[in-house]
Symmetry: D2
Subunit: 340 residues, 4 copies
């Protein structure tokens, strides 16, 4: 099978680093460029000593990047910035996997309400595909723009979507209590990511109805169920580097066992979703460094079932899922280059 | 003010160590003995190098302990064992603060159902007082047996009780999602407390309706409200040593602002409860090493309010609350010897 | 005994916070002001939720601070800045404990060589006393300016000074390999203190002859021995918040047992130095939160003895030692207000 | 290239798990069996949820294992136990990579002195090869028994051996101060590996001349130099899961720059040794999860040079190096299946 040439924008974020490492050993990729605005002109190892096989690659500016011909482009840039810099690639016909939030929200008005600025490329929204392979595989196959899902949404959507799609299953009063490692907050310096502040600390933030990932989660849950779904979502910062665990409470007419059957049915051929037995509660260490999402369902009380899911926020929650999307888009083996 | 003589059973658990440290610097206590079955005959420093001022104290056996005359006895023994060993002290009229679960549950049948064995001293249940000072202060003052509350229950009860006591406030569909440091699992060797297993990991356990602390929480919530209250409770193990954060979801006819007012009113004179502003979400590091419980209320959605509380599981969740109870029982200043 | 009024400059550093907490419960101190350039006008709790009893205190600017009459002033400011702002207090006769490096080095030329700028107040150097109570107690008693030692120097000097003072003991080829928690790097945002970079990482820095604390260590070792002493010093950053462990290798004509005897003799009446048995190797957790320095000596090989010492860098390595100095200066009980 | 069939004894240790994960994705290996005495009959996932592709494999007893025909056998058993169980495989001509200490020490008397029991198979010692590929590659190629080096020795030997082999370079007074993650202490339950004891703690152990790895380090340094070499070695336990950093002090007639040249020369074609520039101090996070050893040399003082090396104790310090040895023994590409 023929290799493809790829480029990465925003390669010096934690997500970028993870992507560089994955693609650096992917059997069917040639890394044409790695780009960074802040570190242009310097070798990757100036930013991360642990960059492995690509440590000697010199980072180029986004401007320079545009002159390269690549078949697939990954963007790890922040939202708003991302859509802007992708446009020239889009016009040249490059297939794009955007890890920012820019193309995740179908409605530019909803995007604007949550992200507090006009959408930078509303004309492209219609053709962007939400890159959750377990749900949109066939659309991803032919998409030019894939919007890679957020880390929290991935962990909340995977257990719930099969239930919401099932017409005989009612799911109400969803509360997602999510726990994330500090790498999810990025590499930018801020007090909440300072070691002394984050270590030996558990801290909620943006709880209830204020975190931006809510609009992404609700959009996909609503599409799955065919009617408006609303959630309560409470993220927490954990004293660890990697991983998201989501504990999701919902009211339903189903037993945990029935929920498990529905999920097993939905995911039986999925290479990266492991539906666990009822007693085997997922834990972040079980999926660290892998592209797996572990999930199960457990008894709440009469009316409530508890879903628990675990992912590595940098792999299944970001770079790994992006590679999975690329594998689908270019008709590679889906598991190629992905750690399990 | 006159000092009292005290003794500690089960002094070599993490809770025991914390208690020894607190009482070692308490201005009104004389430590008559520290006792341990496993380490009897050896100095405290054989068990904990960090025992501070009591490191040279030699631990005595529980049998030997009984021969000492003390005015106040603390037990950090496991449930079942605890009630047994307390009896001789009780008969001599010693006032007792039991940190085990043995005297927390009023109904011996409920105790038996959750703890899977007959209650070891049902005849004493009636006179035992649940040692949550903010609720039972006046009963504690004259009690001979105080049952020190569990760590999780302390963190869940303090935000909810004022609401449940308020006749105009409805509280339903309570879900408590709690996150605890590893010290809460004790010093006994087990794989889940092994550094390599617990580090870089978030792991739920006994979620839903299976953790023993549920019977204690429901008993006190029901007493506060005057009718049966039932909860869903999901504990999680965090990669840190100390602290519990509880994120509590409930349906109510009150706004978060109203909940805050009710809590402020209830706790305005309490030295160890800090009701925070709505935006100031509690974090475990803010209360580490102190006897504070920080709590606040925040928006969920139309029907749901979120309470967040943080305590140090070894202080307000165990040893600190025990000292607070002693201060009340012996008419000391309530804050004496307690870190803030 | 009469209380004294005190003020703190630079109160919002980690050292400042630790000092505020210690002085907030000290039985003989009245906190006249807490000052911060960056946070002037805001309550302490805006900076640290965990400030305990002083959380409502409003921080004042250094300029405002000068107008207060205090009997003792603590400065937690950075070097150079510190000496400057202390001058007006000095002129009013206030007794000063400076936690910066400004008054630790007796020779302004040496200071300039290591700190890369002219000394800001060379005229005061002669009267400043190096605030290591175990060595300079009598000078501290009457000093107007006490230079509180650095954290690494405290951990390296305490095991070695008794040996160097002993005329029959030879000590050569000293190598100090020190391991520090991240709080030692301060609260300023930098990549090396970012949680994701520091967690699960051990990293040496400024090893050999490049760390500034070398001049302070060599000055005091040379004064103790009466001749020039030179060391190799290698600090390392550990994935934890608090603590310094120094493993110190040196060639000597003494056995570890003889070193222990000399140290025991020197420290027998010291309240904050615990000379351990040979087999009991110090560990940072044993001294965390206390003002203790634990130390011992152990076999290297024929020619080499290994000293190991452990302190809490924020307590014995900074704020606790400063309070100890104050206790000596004002003739308080030496252990007053200090955690053990 | 043809695949080989392999078996693993002691597969449920941390080293075993790492090996299982590496071999599970190795392109040229077929896993014939995974064996464990304690867990025989149960699937791998009963022991480790995170076992990836082999989670459904059922563990077999060592007795059962012997009946399998494999071309290469890995043993992750403890010393003494290991040699015993390897014998039947040896007799069948199976090529063996032993990760225990049993075949590392050439002299059965030295082994007995350090390991406190008679060597279990002294007749095989002569033909066993010390599996440090950078030194013994050609012997490994044809060996039937390869003794995989210890984790600490790997980190200490790689920087020093090129210098000791160089006839014009003097190396004396070697002191190795090593810092290890807790996984190095294994999965057996003990208090020093309990999360609460190891977290927020730095602790030396077996310092000076008492750790068993000394005999292995001194044997190889002496062989490299052609004369007896003796060291001081001080291991420390760090609050992290993976990684060893060794800071090595030695007296030499060479400058750090010259040491670097010698090491670069020695390792220029080595795929897993990265000789860093003088300013670029290795850190454990830079090599975590990889088979790299990063090393450099830095200024001590006139007479002393400091070597710093970093490895992942479970990869280059154990399982990764074992796979490297297998690649050499079976003439595979040396980097096959190894993370970089």
């Amino acid at each position: 099978m023929k290799s493809i040439s790829i480029g990465i924008l925003g390669a010096t974020s934690y997500t970028g680093l993870e992507l560089v490492k994955l693609l650096g050993v992917h059997p069917l990729c040639e890394l044409a460029f790695v780009s960074s605005k802040s570190y242009a002109g310097r070798p990757f190892s100036d930013v991360f000593a642990r960059a492995g096989t690509v440590e000697d690659r010199v980072l180029i500016s986004p401007q320079e990047a545009v002159s390269h011909s690549v078949e697939c482009l990954f963007s790890c840039l922040p939202h708003a910035v991302s859509a802007d810099l992708l446009l020239p690639f889009y016009k040249k016909g490059v297939r794009i996997i955007d890890l920012s939030a820019d193309f995740r929200i179908r409605d530019a008005g909803v995007y604007c309400r949550w992200y507090k600025h006009e959408h930078p490329a509303p004309q492209l929204l219609e053709q962007a595909v939400f890159g959750l392979p377990e749900v949109y595989r066939e659309h991803i196959r032919s998409a030019q723009i894939v919007a890679n899902p957020g880390c929290y949404p991935t962990s909340v959507l995977l257990p719930l979507i099969p239930l919401l799609k099932d017409v005989d299953t009612e799911v109400n009063a969803i509360i997602a209590d999510s726990k994330s490692g500090v790498s999810g907050a990025g590499r930018a310096l801020k007090l909440t990511s300072h070691f002394v502040e984050a270590n030996e600390n558990v801290k909620p933030y943006s709880i209830g109805r204020s975190h931006r990932h809510i609009c992404e989660i609700e959009q996909e849950l609503s599409l799955a169920s065919g009617s408006e779904v609303s959630i309560v979502f409470s993220p927490h910062l954990m004293p660890m580097t990697r991983g998201i665990l989501s504990t999701i409470y919902f009211q339903t007419n189903r037993s945990p066992g029935e929920c498990l059957s529905i999920a097993r049915q939905a995911y039986q051929r999925e290479p990266f979703v492991r539906v666990r037995e009822r007693g085997e509660l997922p834990a972040t260490a079980d999926v660290a460094g892998t592209n797996y999402c572990d999930l199960t369902f457990s008894d709440g009380n009469d009316a409530t079932v508890i879903a628990v899911s675990a992912i590595d926020n940098l792999v299944k929650g970001a770079a790994g899922q992006a590679v999975h999307n690329m594998n689908i888009m270019f008709d590679f083996k889906e598991t190629a280059g992905l750690p399990r």
